[in-house]
Symmetry: C2
Subunit: 337 residues, 2 copies
């Protein structure tokens, strides 16, 4: 937009009418005669007039923009969520402004400011690992800005939340492993600060308890990166009594686990069955394709966005609600005995 863009004033001058007339004509206001309307529309088309969204945003305090804050854009989960969000946002004629917090509290606060400054009509957030203080969000809520948290949700705040039921997800995965005859079931966790870690762990424990399987602390390992997961898995394999199944908490850890198993020439699922919380696309890339409790990134994005627009359209007077998507267990060869 470095060059001068066409404005309604240009049209008005050329047509010898006032800019208010042009404005009204362009939106078919009944006050304007058909002749004038047609002339204005013609001229607008001819000059390739494009309404200035910024000016309208200033006037209406409505920007038609939704803000999104994610901790990271690295694979695998958040890009999928964005995929789901963008579709819904676009469908409604809105646009998406994406900001990354990079797992930094300060950046997150700054990002909230930026979105406010830009008059976004609603905000979708997955909070950073470092975020403890929630003032930047509570003041947003007090300002009456529609907001929906997803996946990485704050523990104590009155607002909409969208997440998958990780506890039952892990529970089902472990029960599935038990159902195919596995009893020495390991779990590889990710970052312990994340709610998903503790939730999935508790689902894991719950399932073992139900089936009277003792919890073996040696089977609970942590791998925040693929490399770490690989290393820890190798240690698992060296145990005098190694596991016969592994539950991976994320795509990243799954990747490390599979590398370790490949390297050790473990037979999957005969020797060790494998299941993980993997986005569907990626879970099929392994050999064998791995069973998965779909983290449903795309769906989360979709549902969170739908809820946000509900808020926007109903003037933000809805009661805060937590939407718990039940996760989908997809069984593939890695757990088919």
């Amino acid at each position: 937009m470095t060059n001068k863009a066409i404005t309604i004033i240009d049209i008005a001058k050329l047509l010898g009418v006032s800019k208010s007339t042009v404005s009204r004509a362009l939106k078919d206001h009944p006050d304007i005669s058909n002749a004038t309307k047609e002339a204005v529309h013609m001229m607008a088309k001819q000059l390739k007039y494009k309404p200035n969204a910024v000016a309208m945003s200033l006037r209406h305090k409505k920007s038609k923009v939704i803000g999104l804050i994610v901790p990271t854009l690295s694979p695998f989960f958040f890009p999928s969520v964005i995929h789901g969000i963008e579709k819904e946002v676009n469908k409604r004629g809105y646009n998406l402004m994406i900001l990354q917090s990079n797992e930094s509290y300060e950046r997150e606060v700054r990002n909230v400011d930026i979105l406010q400054s830009n008059n976004v009509e609603g905000i979708l957030v997955s909070i950073s690992r470092k975020t403890e203080d929630l003032n930047h969000f509570t003041s947003l809520i007090e300002d009456n800005t529609p907001i929906v948290f997803f996946d990485r949700i704050p523990k104590s705040i009155q607002a909409d939340m969208v997440l998958v039921d990780d506890i039952s997800g892990a529970f089902n995965a472990v029960e599935h492993l038990i159902s195919i005859g596995k009893r020495k079931i390991a779990i590889c966790l990710g970052n312990p600060n994340l709610l998903i870690s503790s939730n999935r762990l508790s689902g894991y424990k719950k399932a073992l308890k139900k089936h009277s399987i003792e919890i073996n602390e040696e089977f609970i390992i942590t791998g925040e990166s693929s490399e770490e997961a690989e290393k820890e898995t190798k240690k698992l394999l060296e145990l005098t009594n190694p596991p016969d199944a592994i539950l991976a908490i994320s795509d990243l850890t799954m990747s490390g686990i599979m590398k370790a198993l490949y390297a050790a020439k473990i037979k999957i699922p005969e020797d060790i069955a494998v299941i993980g919380f993997c986005e569907d696309t990626f879970s099929q890339m392994y050999n064998p394709p791995v069973s998965t409790i779909d983290p449903m990134g795309v769906e989360i994005g979709k549902i969170a966005t739908e809820r946000l627009f509900q808020r926007i359209h109903e003037n933000n007077i809805l009661e805060p609600k937590t939407i718990n998507l039940s996760s989908r267990l997809i069984i593939r060869d890695s757990t088919k005995i």
Copy 2:
């Protein structure tokens, strides 16, 4: 922002000064006395004043927003690019508005309009498959809007382009396969409308020619989806004289190829070596990890954004330039004999 936000007028009233004074005080204008400045800053902090980016954008015709149009947000390539872009954009205090064309020409045109309407200061584009007519871009360029095309570039337009050298990438991949003793080399293409398909194919042919290997049309297959690639690969394997190496043109095709090879219990790389244009993260998920000509999504995003800011800062008077990143050949077990 449903509630009334604090404006400089609020500050002005409370302090009994004019809004111009507040405006100048907030940006440390030398005309304003220190006493006034301090008072204003105090009050601003106290009221949690946030400047209205929309108003400033309207005044300055500068929005601090970069627009991005991609054909799709589905894995694998474009999310990586966005990862690279967002980092650079954010580093410079700008924000990113992301639009998807969904491979539709009409949506692409609409998206260009939207970005113009929002006064974005620059645009990054990877064009849709359907795009033949380029008027929406040429008029942008005539309007003097900084623009950089990446990856999916239009054939005839005077503008900056960023892409990886696919021809030499494919060439090097094939030479690498030859160097490990393979001569019956197949290639699995993707959408034939894409420049990357024809470029990578021509690199493939060039390498074969150089080493006096006859081109076998049976070895040139097409799989736009993973499933299609899988099916076509199976057909390859049933040939009386099947290939001893396969070059995959994308993550998606690689996924299908590997599935077919797994199913047929082909030994990789002994029976068939495999190499593909895969994002690094994903290429390591296979068993064995596959060699790859890194499509360098993140880097493309980074370089394209850097170039765009160069344009923005130098008033868009640069000569159009095509930046050809040379691709990186990463050798992993799938081609290690």
